[in-house]
């Protein structure tokens, strides 16, 4: 769909996110700096200081306090955002579950950086993957454009009455956050209208309609029932993510779904990846396809909720699936989280593809074109032999 955009800009991912935040104009932002997320809050602080937003910017003393302030503000009915990564996300830990348990719509870019030790500030997905069971929606971005677009859509997904869950927008540290990218920005007015006003089911600041938030649930209480509701809300998010994407296409001209496909209509084997690595992989898939090799690719956007049924359908025609994971589960040779969940999704299927895992890029190890080429050759060989010599492969590791 062709949509006239107000401007095309050269921008780093972090500033792109700060611009999306300016256009959304949240009521409260509480955040603490951590590399490589710092520039988001730094840029947004300048925006707030210039009076371009009405946001109450809370400079807290830690990520634990940042999420605590966000939870308080969101309970009062405010539209709330923060940003973090890595150890900062780790320090937020107990609050992540409180935000999702209280069903508070909070939008948080997480600039994917690995977890120490050894200390390393570079990209992999182990920070957000650690939080995969915390009840947050998790959307991956491939580049600055997708990070910007995901932030704007996240507001609507998070605040949808069928969902009411916090959303993490994931973007690869440095590769997306600090690299200058070409991006189309949507007009301020269009974003403002798209985001709309937050409609809250309750507010703690209305004396005529008082509400108690965060009450104690005793041993004989209803905790189990509330957790079951959260699972339902996450399932509800699947259609909501698609519907919000359809609406977003009308103002942006850009199409999104639960995942993006390339060549899946005739693919014999497929690669699944998320984040910036998908760009390098796509290039190789296109090279293979131009040589008449029926390769396909799925770029996973929504990891939480995990679109199992949709993925099974998209992969129904392939013989081999190679899952690229930028983190591992430390389960003792079980591979990465996306591999595990996809394999589990196929359990009931009669026709299961051969599935292999490529763990790559830990601590920022570069996913070069040569490495992807090497992996593709291996996958091609597996596809023709129907056998995988090694189920879990560490791509780019010095053996």
């Amino acid at each position: 769909m062709a949509v006239k955009n107000s401007k095309t800009v050269a921008i780093v991912g972090n500033e792109a996110v700060a611009e999306a935040m300016r256009q959304i104009n949240p009521d409260v932002v509480a955040a603490y700096p951590i590399t490589p997320q710092t520039d988001i809050v730094q840029a947004f602080s300048a925006i707030a200081a210039d009076g371009l937003v009405d946001t109450e910017l809370v400079n807290v003393e830690s990520e634990h306090s940042a999420m605590s302030a966000c939870i308080g503000a969101a309970s009062s009915g405010a539209r709330v955002m923060t940003a973090t990564c890595s150890q900062g996300l780790g320090l937020m830990w107990e609050l992540l579950y409180i935000a999702s348990g209280l069903r508070l719509p909070i939008v948080m870019p997480n600039v994917n950086r690995t977890m120490s030790a050894p200390i390393n500030i570079h990209c992999d997905h182990s920070d957000s993957m650690g939080a995969r069971d915390s009840g947050w929606i998790q959307l991956f971005s491939e580049n600055a454009q997708e990070a910007y677009d995901n932030i704007i859509q996240a507001v609507r997904i998070s605040e949808h009455p069928d969902v009411y869950l916090p959303v993490m927008v994931l973007m690869d540290g440095f590769i997306i956050s600090h690299a200058v990218d070409r991006m189309d920005m949507i007009e301020d007015e269009k974003v403002k209208n798209f985001a709309g006003e937050r409609s809250a089911p309750f507010t703690m600041l209305d004396p005529n309609n008082p509400a108690c938030v965060g009450a104690f649930d005793t041993l004989h209480g209803y905790f189990f029932e509330f957790k079951r509701q959260q699972e339902e809300a996450m399932a509800n998010a699947l259609p909501v993510i698609k519907n919000v994407a359809n609406e977003f296409e009308k103002i942006s001209g850009r199409s999104y779904g639960l995942f993006e496909t390339l060549g899946m209509e005739d693919a014999e084997f497929a690669v699944i990846a998320q984040g910036s690595g998908a760009g390098t992989i796509r290039h190789q898939i296109e090279c293979l396809r131009s040589n008449g090799i029926r390769a396909g690719m799925i770029k996973l956007r929504s990891f939480r909720p995990f679109p199992a049924e949709e993925l099974i359908e998209a992969l129904s025609g392939v013989k081999t699936v190679a899952v690229f994971d930028r983190s591992t589960t430390f389960a003792g040779g079980m591979g990465g989280p996306v591999f595990n969940e996809l394999r589990s999704s196929f359990y009931e299927q009669e026709n299961k593809p051969l599935m292999v895992n490529y763990v790559y890029g830990l601590g920022g190890r570069d996913l070069s074109v040569e490495l992807v080429k090497k992996a593709m050759e291996e996958i091609l060989a597996m596809n023709s032999s129907g056998k995988a010599e090694q189920k879990i492969n560490y791509l780019g590791l010095r053996e």
């Binding site: 348990g101 008082p210 649930d217 509701q229």
Partner: protein, 106 residues
């Protein structure tokens, strides 16, 4: 109070309010926390001089006075914390075993 929670223990997970929010006031009185009690305070009228100290210190506001005189303990909500017994200058409260007290009542 508009919110009827009399059969809340039978509610399906679909019926509970989103995010465990309680949109009603004063409903804590529907939860009789006296059931938490392992020790029961017993008041001794002979020793009591109606100084009101127990009334002031009781964290659950379970102790009532009428016409400036001690009028009783609300065992529906008394958690048996023993603060009344600890604070009483006249030593007018005795903390006894709740299980034993209940078995004697039967």
């Amino acid at each position: 109070m508009s919110w009827d929670i009399s059969k809340i223990n039978e509610w399906s997970w679909k019926e509970h309010p989103t995010g465990a929010v309680i949109k009603d006031t004063g409903n804590s009185r529907k939860v009789k926390t006296g059931g938490w009690r392992s020790l029961r305070p017993i008041h001794d009228e002979e020793k009591c001089n109606n100084c009101f100290i127990c009334f002031v210190f009781c964290p659950e506001a379970c102790i009532s006075f009428a016409n400036d005189e001690f009028a009783g303990i609300d065992y529906d909500y008394c958690k048996g914390c023993g603060i009344c017994a600890e604070e009483c200058p006249q030593d007018a409260f005795e903390m006894i075993s709740e299980i034993e007290a209940q078995s004697k009542e039967k």
